[in-house]
């Protein structure tokens, strides 16, 4: 029987035992969620050359883990429109905390930590008011929610922290949703996506919209370069016969640059970009499309087209030793820089949408 004394002693012990760091769990470079052949789900730690350093069970189909900057701790979200997320100890596999969305909110499946790892920011839906929110939780105190602020848009998706700062950037997809409607897009004609920047305290710093003709180009996923260049990947909900750009580049205070593949190659993406990444040296930028079975690559500075890697069910994308590392729904981890697969490692299970990069200050 737990006594008050025993409970307090336990708390003290917990405070004294150092929390495991990423080095304690094999120094993974990435986290990915995977569906196993038996139908259960796992959180996998991967090195940038495709080796697996840990594999832990997930309670449900997990999505887009956010990784703590120093502690071996990851947040896995339930599938949209989920109302909970779990914080997993990547050494023991234990669920260290459970995050429940506040009344009238649900998660969108992405989150980001503050630079010091003390705060967790998550994109959420205030579905009564049809507005995006950022939920703020205290990662040092059981992830209790301490604040929230509006994202200045509808349907926020990925949130990221600008390298070397505590400035946050949010892709507001522009698509309304409601838990009563399940994972269904509502009111496409009213779409007005944007890219919004905030201070750590939630003050709006800048909101960037696309031209009116691209109102149906949903801004969803983000990648950041060390110098503050933001790449955003989009999903097109407009005229299916006229493919819109799926990749944009933005630097604060400047105009957006939109990149498209040459002529017919743009249509091959099926209007869908699932992930975006800069190459390790920052010189290239890529987006992936599982329905298009490919990743497309451009020069991140000149915007010049480089080529496309054809790869079945590719989605997870991040920086890698040869430029990029990608994961697929067929269980591959692949290295590439342009059009060719340079190496690949086969794993058990199907990798889910994203490959989350662990980097001390990214």
């Amino acid at each position: 029987m737990a006594t008050r004394r025993g409970f307090l002693a336990g708390l003290a012990a917990a405070a004294l035992v150092p929390r495991p760091t990423w080095a304690d769990v094999g120094s993974p470079d990435f986290l990915a969620a995977a569906k196993m052949p038996e139908g259960d789900y796992a959180l996998v730690g991967l090195t940038r050359d495709g080796r697996e350093v840990f594999r832990l069970p997930l309670p449900d189909r997990g999505h887009a883990a956010a990784a703590h900057p120093s502690r071996a701790e990851a947040v896995a979200f339930a599938r949209r429109p989920g109302t909970f997320a779990v914080v997993i100890d990547c050494q023991s596999g234990e669920v260290r905390a459970r995050l429940d969305a506040a009344e009238g909110r649900h998660f969108y499946g992405h989150g980001a930590y503050s630079r010091d790892g003390r705060l967790l920011f998550t994109t959420e839906n205030d579905y009564g008011a049809n507005r995006g929110m950022v939920g703020v939780r205290d990662a040092t105190a059981g992830y209790v929610q301490i604040d929230e602020f509006p994202t200045m848009g509808v349907g926020p998706h990925e949130i990221a922290r600008m390298p070397g700062t505590d400035i946050l950037v949010v892709g507001n997809g522009g698509i309304a949703s409601h838990p009563d409607a399940g994972d269904v897009d509502l009111d496409i004609p009213a779409m007005k996506p944007n890219l919004a920047y905030f201070s750590e305290a939630g003050s709006v710093l800048e909101v960037v919209e696309l031209e009116p003709g691209l109102r149906r180009d949903s801004i969803r996923h983000l990648a950041l370069r060390e110098d503050g260049l933001v790449a955003f990947a989009m999903q097109w909900h407009g005229d299916e016969g006229e493919p819109a750009p799926l990749l944009g580049l933005h630097r604060r205070g400047e105009d957006v640059r939109l990149l498209s593949a040459p002529g017919p190659m743009q249509a091959e993406m099926d209007g869908y970009a699932g992930s975006v990444a800069f190459s390790r040296d920052g010189s290239r930028v890529a987006i992936s499309s599982p329905p298009g079975g490919q990743a497309q690559v451009w020069n991140a500075d000149s915007g010049e087209w480089i080529g496309r890697l054809r790869l079945r069910d590719v989605c997870g994308l991040s920086a890698g030793p040869d430029g990029f590392t990608a994961t697929t729904g067929t269980g591959l981890v692949v290295g590439f820089g342009g059009e060719a697969v340079l190496w690949d490692v086969a794993h058990q299970g199907a990798f889910d949408n994203h490959l989350v990069r662990l980097a001390a200050d990214l």
Partner: protein, 334 residues
């Protein structure tokens, strides 16, 4: 009942290795190889016709162009292996071209009288937007290009385009017969680890071909109801928009028949193809100009709906029957 049918369909399909091998032999031998051989032959004829007479209105040249383009459309869903080396498929067919890269690249060549058209090696380095059937269509059928720059240069450019098409078609034919067909017939290497991988390749080609016809050939000119875009119709200058839909449907139907030679799924697919092919045959709107009025638009939309229906049968029934599936990520977006 539905479930029973699905189970029957599953077991009537080429589930066992021997049946899979038979399907692969049939598709490679009677669908793929004849199409690339026909393209090669028609492309060599086009080259000969252009070298003999480069006048854009020459009946012999236009006929040879039409026949070669037909042969390409019939093969154009087979986008793997030789067609993907050095972006050959795009060098033959750079379309859709929403930014107008093709006329832009052609204008630049003509106005600068770029000497690259003088050699096949030189022309092979030209932007893929200026090469292939769609670039050649501007040179043979577009009013602006009939009078742009010097006549002699335009003639050299047409000949270079025809020679380039012939070289690409020849190279693809050589690689198909010189090894790639064997890779598919005897899987086990890196490219195709098993017969299931080869079947998957054909299944993907069928799906991509149907989607291209529905989205690019039909939805693009339809545009929005209050903003139709007839000028986006494929190859409208040469009056080939509807023709491409028909050739493509016939070719995809042939592939589907060979992938699923009998059974319930075969019958469902056959009925869906018949419906779309009948609508296309009755359409009588060669360049989809009708999308600008409600009645004409309705008919094009009905055809697109019929093509989408074939895709739906393919996704819902054929995939399961063949034992292939849509990707984990492709089928569940985020």
């Amino acid at each position: 009942m539905r479930l029973v049918l699905a189970l029957l369909a599953c077991c009537a399909g080429p589930a066992v290795a021997q049946e899979r091998a038979e399907v692969i032999r049939d598709v490679v031998g009677n669908h793929v190889l004849p199409r690339y051989a026909a393209l090669d032959e028609a492309a060599q004829d086009l080259d000969a016709a252009a070298q003999a007479d480069c006048e854009p209105e020459s009946p012999a040249l236009r006929e040879a162009y039409g026949e070669a383009f037909d042969a390409w459309i019939a093969a154009s869903h087979l986008r793997f292996g030789p067609s993907e080396v050095e972006d050959r498929a795009y060098a033959l067919a750079f379309w859709p071209d929403p930014r107008g890269d093709t006329p832009g690249a052609l204008r630049a060549l003509i106005l600068e009288e770029d000497p690259v058209v003088g050699t096949a090696e030189g022309f092979a380095e030209v932007s893929i937007a200026a090469r292939g059937f769609y670039g050649m269509e501007f040179m043979l059928y577009d009013e602006e290009f009939a009078g742009l720059g010097a006549e002699g240069y335009r003639c050299d450019l047409i000949r270079a385009q025809a020679r380039d098409i012939a070289l690409i078609a020849g190279a693809m034919q050589e690689e198909w017969t010189g090894g790639y067909a064997d890779l598919m017939l005897r899987p086990g290497g890196d490219r195709y680890r098993s017969e299931a991988d080869v079947i998957q390749e054909f299944y993907d080609a069928l799906g991509a071909g149907l989607e291209f016809t529905a989205d690019s050939r039909l939805a693009r000119p339809m545009g929005e109801f209050d903003d139709p875009k007839p000028a986006r119709a494929e190859a409208r200058r040469s009056g080939r928009s509807l023709r491409h839909v028909r050739i493509s449907l016939a070719s995809l139907h042939d592939l589907a028949e060979r992938l699923m030679p009998e059974g319930v799924v075969h019958d469902h697919l056959g009925a869906a193809f018949d419906r779309a092919e009948t609508l296309a045959a009755r359409l009588d709107d060669p360049v989809f100009a009708g999308v600008s009025d409600p009645t004409g638009r309705f008919r094009v939309e009905a055809l697109k709906g019929a093509v989408d229906r074939i895709s739906a049968v393919g996704n819902e029934e054929l995939g399961a029957a063949l034992g292939v599936a849509a990707g984990f990520n492709a089928s569940d977006g985020d």
